[in-house]
Symmetry: C2
Subunit: 253 residues, 2 copies
DNA sequence: CGACACATTGACCAGACTCAAAGCTAGTGG
DNA sequence: CCACTAGCTTTGAGTCTGGTCAATGTGTCG
């Protein structure tokens, strides 16, 4: 299965080099990481709150989310992770997981022992820096999510979520012009925005009627990108260089 | 002003050693950091969204918060920072600030050039690890805030905020038994919880009537710590070792 | 053809917001 | 020492965004 290794190296290198400079040694360090591949079926937890993680997980394909459940059983999604992401980077340093990780659809993942990851990061300055930087960008997204959930009304809030998703996907070349595939159900959107599923349904209808965004059959289509950003008060600064600003908006994957 | 240096070293060492192991060299690295001290007056911004930071700021005394303002002018507080904290750790790696930093009261800060900080972190593994870990703990607090703001009703949400504050202050020895000083206005609490000030006022009255928590003249008193945690669904796991679990609940500062 | 999960609708409810007016309190200047 | 101010807290009234409950569509998969 050398295809897996190649994919892993290419995704990691691509993702990390948009946020830090990697030299040949760094790239080699990435390519020689010991790794185990696994396919996680749709809607299966990858790890749970309280688990002790010993491996880091790199998403190769599919969407993944972090979430927490509070006492009443309500779920809050904390972040979405797309191919190339390392959703449990923090697990490298913080032994016990304070949240769970879920595959939103069938997902291909690479698992790298923490020991090896830490070793590689210590040896290869570029890799270490890139990982640290990536972790800090994650934190920046969390901050924006706090603002989104704390201060934006439902319509704006939902629009903002999709602005982020579209921008990140586009940077990864996973969009088809204005449209992209998404495994999110309205329930997922509700849990990511802190709204109720019923209300999300109504907000999505509003966005559709306004021709800003429409989702059907697991495919989202941005109807008016400018207006969607305006409504959402979307400022991609918080993505730092996650979204290479200059990525072309078009061009099939 | 050697007292400043001593305070800085002691706060930093204390804070970082609760979350990572520091050897003599690490401590020396901390003690020899080049540093500039400054007093920030009450309600003054320390830096603003969009600024390029070249120094890291360590809080010596006073409370500080990070916040963002959205287009309508609404403010969301993202985190609170207490003595010993480095509220802009992320600035070390992410050049442009995606949020602002405000002194909630008169605050004494130490400023350390990023260059020096990075150098020290590179040389002293312990320090580097501790800083990275601290940054990841910050991210963990952000995640919990997303949950708080996204999924908890106002009463529980407000209770949770104060559970976090009390736990962190206690770990720093800044509580007097069940009570502690706080510079937070009800407006600040509103902006930290995503509520309106009027509603916060009513919730605080409820907490007071229930004898869980009462705030008067910038002093908060926990009336029933067990119950407050229960109501808030507070699980200090997410603070990782920020709150040395075994810190005594009592003993004057 | 069910079964199941998700999307949609309608009716109703409530938690939280807005607006507006008073109280407080601490600091300021006369 | 006291009015005056500014900022914060408190209260009341009315509204509305978003939640709940429950039923009905719709689509996919075995």
């Amino acid at each position: 299965m050398d295809a897996n290794r190649t994919l892993l190296a290419s995704l990691l290198t691509h993702q990390l080099s948009t946020i830090a400079t990697l030299d040949a040694a760094d790239r080699r360090a990435i390519e020689t990481l010991p790794v185990r591949f696994r396919t996680i079926p749709e809607r299966r937890d990858i790890f749970r709150e309280g688990d002790k993680a010993v491996e880091a997980c790199v998403v190769l394909s599919g969407w993944v989310c972090r979430y927490k459940i509070i006492s009443g059983g309500r779920r809050q999604i904390l972040s979405l992770h797309l191919p190339g992401d390392i959703p449990d980077l923090q697990g490298l340093t913080l032994e016990v997981m304070d949240h769970s990780l879920l595959a939103l659809e069938e997902t291909r993942c690479a698992f790298i022992p923490h020991e090896a990851m830490r070793g590689a990061a210590d040896l290869s300055t570029g890799l270490g820096r890139a990982l640290a930087r990536r972790a800090l960008i994650d934190a920046s997204l969390f901050r924006e999510w706090i603002v989104n959930v704390g201060r934006r009304p439902a319509y704006e809030r939902t629009a903002h979520l999709f602005c982020e998703i579209y921008t990140r996907l586009r940077a990864l070349g996973l969009t088809n012009g204005p449209s992209f595939p998404t495994p999110l159900t309205q329930i997922d959107v509700a849990d990511a925005t802190g709204l109720s599923p019923v209300h999300v349904n109504r907000i999505l209808q509003q966005l559709r009627r306004g021709r800003l965004l429409s989702i059907k059959a697991k495919t989202a289509v941005i109807g008016d990108w400018e207006e969607l950003q305006r409504v959402a008060d979307f400022n991609p600064l918080y993505l730092h260089h996650l979204a290479s600003d200059l990525a072309p908006a078009h061009g099939a994957a």
